[in-house]
Subunit: 221 residues, 2 copies
Amino acid sequence: MAKDSAKGATEARISTAQRIEIALLEDIAIGALEPGQRLEEVNIAARFDASRTPVREAFSRLTAQGILVQGERRGVFVAQYSREELSQIFEAMHEIEAACARIASQRLNLLTRAEILSAQAECIAAAESGDRAAYLRANEAFHQAIYDATGNPYMAEIASEFRRRTGPFRAKKFARREDLIASAKSHQALIDDIFSEDSLTAAQGMRAHMTASFMQALKAN
Amino acid sequence: MAKDSAKGATEARISTAQRIEIALLEDIAIGALEPGQRLEEVNIAARFDASRTPVREAFSRLTAQGILVQGERRGVFVAQYSREELSQIFEAMHEIEAACARIASQRLNLLTRAEILSAQAECIAAAESGDRAAYLRANEAFHQAIYDATGNPYMAEIASEFRRRTGPFRAKKFARREDLIASAKSHQALIDDIFSEDSLTAAQGMRAHMTASFMQALKAN
DNA sequence: GTCCACTATTTTGTATACAAAATCGTTTGT
DNA sequence: ACAAACGATTTTGTATACAAAATAGTGGAC
């Protein structure tokens, strides 16, 4: 009965394969694993003190999501994109984010407004203290709050997927404290557009935000 | 040198896991595997005369794509959606398809126009002969041709993914020959809108097409 | 007769073993 | 000296074995 009441509420028992998948995702998001880097099954297995089997399962799932790619020859690699490919991925993400903003603006309620504002407050706090890692987390939470405000988990999921794929490239642009503050300020304008509840304004606000984000990502990559 | 010149041009050597993944996808698209149906590793392994290992790999990739879902208890199941969930998936798909149509309308060229028209010709032929399986294939090729016309493989990929996920639910609506002909006719209007090269017209045309598609899917499910 | 508990069976998750394919290095021939 | 080919080593793909968890089935007690 009280078997997992002590632990986090909904924390189900986690398999080794899932643990590896989550850890690899985190490493890629943080930048510990860089785009283009090769991942060998045996290395990863050793690192997690597991056999190759769960590692292969994690690789399968991550390649299916486009986070990892199989090279033409041996090995699995952290996905790496040329300038051209990056532009295409950002274009796709930009379309989805704009759709999310538009839908969210039409369905805002007290809760979703509060959660967007709350996430933004964390962004500002992290930006002012110059805590890069905290800002990266808060920034993701902010965008996630917008996705959630659509009330559509499928839209939210694909938007998140694109964020995971572009994470390593966006992360590089947050080098200095001013970058964080500028980003947080950009959020404020975006919030105004979405909270206007005018869907066109919301979508255009998000397009502007994403275009700026891509410009900076291009500079940093 | 001539090691695979006899076979299909780009057909690389395929692993058992990939073979199983493709076959399962096909079965789900066709309807041989119905939403909600449970898949047991040993059964599938026996069917493909393989061990559980490649089956598990295929399951991993398919669950990562949302084609299969892990039940809360045992087993992996073909994804099944409630009326509400189906509406959310179609909403998301509808947004992405509209974005594809808009972008495609801006980037049309001789080749992409030709391929859209060619796919539509196949749709008409299949519809008139009342060949349901052929129409399903041609219909997918038609939409794929529009995705490809965006020139953005990432947009194309997510659009395809949603099509795969909704395949079983859309397939049911093509019961009679008239359904096929009506669908092909609807394509014609859509082509006109996209070929207008007015992005707003193209997006609205696709929205109309998708809305109609969802209405029929709802009736059939 | 119903409910609970205990056991048995099924099923999943992980490890290991083995075979095949590919890369790398060395050697040999021209 | 350079190229080609052969062999050795690494790495992947698949099979099998084993352990743990969950469900189902059976029996017993009230």
